[in-house]
Amino acid sequence: MKFKDYYEILGVARTASSDEIKKAYRKLAHQYHPDVSKDPAGEAKFKEVGEAYATLKDKEKRAAYDALGRHSAGEEFRPPPNWAGSQANQGGQTFSFDDIDLADLFASFSKGHRHPQQPGQQPSMPGQDYEMATQISLEDAYHGTTVELSFKVPEYDAQGQLKHVPHAFKARIPKGMTNGQKMLLRGKGGKGFHGGKDGNLYLNISFIPHRLFRALGHDLYIDLPLAVSEAALGATVKVPTIDGAVNLKVPAGAKTGQKLRMANRGLPKHNQEHGDLFAVIQIAVPASLSERERELFKALADASTFNPRAHFE
């Protein structure tokens, strides 16, 4: 087990008073709390700070921590023989310090030590909630899919040793998701201890950027490039949708930015309805013109009285 210097993490002396510890914690919490700070490293830092404070704010835990002796941060160590935490942890059973860290040790220490019970009658402890992000394609959001989820959770093995074990399963994502949808999977977080309920898994679902479509809620948007002649004269053009291409009638005089709505061609909603698909018109011109095209455009320019900047005047 690697040693963590909780006093150093909080930036206080080993002789610090409870008030000094609380003050140091609050200052660091304001700086690094993931719900407050925008620092990307804040979450990991706050975890350390919270872990240090959870132990040092509690007289019994602080005394047990101090009894571990002084070590350098990151140094491999084992608690001294007959250390209080090892008895409390397993109700007298053999206890291994391999594959766990100080946080696990003190979390179970508090439960076992405060309320000494007979082995097998330790107080229940709910499993930890987990939060994960997963990405799905727009097609998967349209049809529904399954995603593979995998993470490590602390569990007791058959010998009663606390270990971090892989937790992997496939979960069904129903159709009707939107980008940024949050989903709760009951009981798929960390295992509860001693009869405690299993934790939950919070899944943040986002869409893999699509080559053609953008999703806003259940509506989809696609850029629809039109040749100048198609925009001026009107046209029927083939437009892809998630569910296959459709013919769209573009009215004469279509303008850049104008949206043509294709009802119910968006993502499915939970009430069996669908969002809409919007084709956003863009006027496209060829990167290079043939001699003939150049002549025709010149003739059009000479013949036309159209002034696209009339509103400037």
Partner: protein, 99 residues
């Protein structure tokens, strides 16, 4: 790896959960949730109903609220103010993602 169908709840403005579920999932007590309703910052779908239900999106903000309460040792009076800000941030972030 077998496909599982865990009991799932979509957390958004279209789905709902009961007060007891919200308490269980968020970590706040029913009494604390009643106080937030009394303060007018937590809105039941139908305030006249015998059993209150809420839009399930509250699970996220009230879990955050519960974390902040524990980590900053907040008093219950601060919770209503904090939830107002969390909800405002949620709505603004939602609007930002739509543009």
């Amino acid at each position: 790896m077998s496909v599982e169908y865990p009991d799932s709840i979509l957390l958004d403005e279209q789905h709902e959960i009961s007060l007891n579920e919200l308490a269980e999932l968020s970590g706040l007590s029913s009494e604390e949730l009643y106080q937030l309703v009394d303060s007018g910052v937590l809105l039941p779908i139908n305030p006249e109903a015998a059993i209150w239900h809420f839009n399930s999106h509250y699970v996220i903000s009230i879990r955050t609220l519960c974390r902040l309460k524990q980590d900053f040792e907040l008093e219950s009076n601060s919770l209503a103010l904090m939830l107002t800000f969390l909800e405002r941030i949620r709505i603004l972030e939602h609007q930002l993602n739509r543009h």
